[in-house]
Subunit: 346 residues, 2 copies
């Protein structure tokens, strides 16, 4: 038996007090007579426990997964709002809640942090919060937003030296990033239906165009939602890389780039696992996330992605890679932590 | 035997004189001492013949397709440049070249027009050119750019009444539109690797969010490049539609929305044809387009998409729909034209 590690778990059930804190913070931006809220929202351990026990923990048990890499919800990051200070306060508050949940349920949740990105601000402003989360709070990764403008794509591509201070710190700390946009301010882009998937596709193509992993051979990036459009258009991407005289994708990207399994139908997962090497696929569900509801074609939740993996005609060894081993390889600090506390299931 | 109609053929081999004309036009925008070029570029019939005989016609013959729906190249439309007048002159010049090719090779090429869109200009400015192309030049469809800003997405979603004058005219003329972006001014978006695919995904999600086909029950739209990310994430889109209390996609979109087969590997085409009803798939190759080169895994050109369809384990009747019948249904004027001139192959 192997563990089942879900590498893409957003805290979508966070208590109302968190939203109220955020509202007060943003109200302070437009009402000059207020001071920016800096204290933490008042949320008791019991309140936190309840959101998890009724939400993600219940679903872990129902679906039989063991551990969720847990982060503030992506759409809530809203890096486009306010300024650097606003993002820094907001990231700290959100990450602290995640930390408390990992303390309350240490066998079930491990933290992945929100970064305090802000449009036009060099991401080196994120280093203190990343370092705090990893070194003091035991987090094992971060979510990196390639478009802090929220649908207007004003930052340079991910392969630009603009981002290098962050990549240097990630390499130093040995933590990966999931490349994940936040909400969309652009009325053309539905957040979870267009902006998320476009963000994934865009990031993948940026990586093809650049040579990021020559400069950072140990950097690890996860592209969520099954890699956006990339696996479906794998021939297009292989062909474009070839036209650009880049190495084969296996050498150019796949030593450093991973896809999660947030693809909500069997045929999509079939294609993902047929086209992308098993070593590059990490189990994830985004559960209680973008798509909630039961698929009338199957009678199961769309985001119950374990079922799609279970159905695959691949060996148990390959399934183990997808469910456990790859995550422990990509999130090296997770592996150390699991070994240290003896959290070996089975 | 059936015809093989390629519904996505860009004139990527257009003569240098066309680019020079465009350069002079744009130079006139920044040099106030010049007048905007208005005359046609000087290109002989022999020059046009040569570009086609060495390019698209040769490939038609090599690959065994019969007829290409031929349009000015998408990346060249560049609606973001200049103003309404610039776009109108440029569209007219480009469409006139396509017309001449359809006259030189009437059995092999049928016209699809570029629209003179311009950022912030209501698309009703496109009606005269659309009407001219359809009524005077015998064109059977148009390419509609959902993002004339070229990667900044400043126009309203396609379901907004902003676009209705164009849809009304399309319905009146009984011509469909392929929803196709042009080049990208945004350094985040590679044109053919990100902006194109994102444009497709974005348009599909806009159609889910809106109710466009309630207002235009006979409107027909083609989403190119296999529908962007949509088929790979079909479960996500079915689930999002369900969360929004929209009808099933079959009722909500698939009476009016079609996907082409510009997906450059077998597994992608397998998924497309497994997930999307055969009635909604139109053969296309985008040949001599985005991805040129030979796939080392197959020994054939990436964009030789006929081979992927030929390999499918579906009935001849279904293949005929993809290769011929669906195109004649969606491009009603093509069907009339083929019937009238007796262009029945086989």
């Amino acid at each position: 038996m192997h563990m089942i590690i879900d590498c893409h778990g957003p805290y979508t059930t966070s208590p109302k007090a968190l939203d109220e804190w955020r509202d007060r913070q943003l109200a302070g931006l437009v009402d000059g007579s207020r001071k920016l809220a800096a204290s933490e929202p008042q949320i008791s351990d019991d309140q936190l426990r309840e959101t998890i026990q009724l939400g993600q923990l219940r679903i872990q048990r129902e679906r039989g997964s063991d551990l969720t890499l847990f982060s503030p919800r992506a759409v809530g990051m809203a890096h486009h709002v306010g300024n650097q200070r606003v993002s820094e306060d907001w990231a700290r508050v959100c990450n602290n809640l995640i930390f408390r949940i990992t303390e309350l349920f240490p066998r079930n949740f491990v933290g992945v942090c929100q970064l305090p990105q802000s449009p036009g601000v060099n991401p080196s402003n994120c280093l203190p919060e990343l370092e705090r989360c990893v070194k003091e709070l035991g987090f094992v990764g971060c979510n990196l937003n390639p478009d802090p403008s929220g649908g207007y794509w004003k930052e340079p591509p991910l392969t630009d030296p603009w981002w290098y201070p962050l990549f240097e710190k990630m390499v130093e700390l040995d933590v990966p990033a999931m490349i994940h946009v936040s909400g969309s301010c652009n009325p053309c882009f539905h957040a979870t239906g267009a902006h998320y998937i476009n963000g994934d596709t865009t990031a993948f193509m940026q990586l093809i165009q650049g040579d990021l992993f020559k400069d950072f051979p140990t950097l690890k990036l996860i592209i969520p939602h099954g890699g956006g459009a990339a696996p479906y258009h794998w021939g297009r991407y292989r062909g474009l890389a070839q036209m650009m005289k880049k190495p084969l994708l296996a050498q150019h990207l796949l030593r450093n780039t991973y896809f999660d399994t947030c693809v909500y139908h069997q045929r999509g997962i079939d294609l993902l696992t047929d086209v992308v090497p098993t070593d590059n696929i990490l189990f994830a569900s985004e559960m209680l996330g973008a798509v909630q509801g039961i698929d009338p074609q199957t009678g199961h939740n769309y985001d119950d992605t374990r079922r799609y993996i279970d159905e695959l005609a691949i060996s148990d060894e390959h399934k183990r890679k997808i469910f456990e081993t790859n995550a422990r390889k990509v999130y090296a600090r997770l592996d150390k932590r699991l070994n240290a506390v003896g959290l070996i299931h089975g």
